[in-house]
């Protein structure tokens, strides 16, 4: 699509584009997770990155920071999973607390005793 073509042109040097002139690919292959990957295996956060890039492309950094905040937050969360880890930690803490108070016993499939068939 057109966006990919644009990225072939404006990767690092938007006016000179030395790499296309020389026909070499020194670092274009590692600039984007959503670029061409070996064995065609998609990156883990490919979708989020694609959304963010499609939102933020061509409108300048100042505007992009305001308008694409949602996509950027989702992409950041996918990369670092900070909110996910916080949530899981909170659940675990509460579970430990309840177990200590005796109000909660973990079900059998959570204690590692039964066999793990689906």
């Amino acid at each position: 699509m057109r966006l990919g073509e644009n990225f072939k042109i404006c990767s690092t040097m938007p006016f000179v584009d030395l790499q296309s002139r020389l026909g070499i690919n020194v670092d274009r292959w590692l600039l984007l997770q959503s670029g061409e990957q070996p064995n065609k295996r998609a990156a883990r956060c490919h979708a989020f990155e694609k959304e963010w890039v499609e939102c933020a492309h061509g409108i300048g950094q100042t505007r992009a920071k305001k308008e694409c905040l949602v996509e950027l937050e989702d992409f950041y969360e996918c990369l670092h999973r900070q909110k996910t880890h916080q949530r899981l930690y909170a659940i675990r803490q509460q579970r430990e607390k309840l177990i200590k108070e005796g109000k909660y016993t973990p079900p059998t499939h959570h204690t590692g005793e039964t066999d793990q068939s689906p």
Binding site: A90, P107, G112
Partner: protein
């Protein structure tokens, strides 16, 4: 001195038998060229055996890959069922555990989108013993 009757150690009558005293280095064994030839011949035979067995191994490897491709829908479906089941169990446990915590929305997604996001192993194995999570994550390594 000759003529005195002293007992001396003399050679036996008739003299000693003849023996070789001249230099004798016979040419024996294979020549250098033929030794090289035998060595190179053994090497060529070894290479031929190696290459033909490697071709056979490549054919076997392709067959294994084909078997993996043939089984992949089944394995993927089983894996997906297992993931969904674990997510469901985690959701129910979370609903029970966090019901007294103020301001907690059960099953809330951390993303703003409602697209399906493949869950991480941490999410699936959150409430299980840590060994299971570590086995899921590192159990497939063949090396340390």
């Amino acid at each position: 001195m000759a003529g005195s009757k002293v007992k001396q150690d003399m050679p036996p009558p008739g003299g000693y038998a003849a023996f070789d005293y001249k230099r004798n280095l016979p040419k024996r064994g294979l020549s250098g060229y033929s030794m090289f030839g035998i060595g190179i011949g053994i090497m060529v035979f070894g290479y031929w055996r190696l290459f033909s067995w490697n071709r056979e191994r490549r054919r076997l490897q392709i067959e294994e890959l084909e078997a993996r491709i043939a089984m992949m829908p089944l394995l993927q479906a089983e894996n997906d069922r297992r993931t969904l089941r674990m997510l469901r169990e985690n959701l129910e446990e979370e609903a029970f555990i966090m019901k007294d915590v103020p301001g907690w929305k059960v099953g809330e997604s951390v993303f703003h989108t409602d697209r399906w996001v493949t869950p991480m192993s941490e999410e699936l194995f959150n409430l299980r013993p840590r060994e299971e999570f570590l086995r899921k994550r590192f159990g497939f390594l063949w090396y340390v």
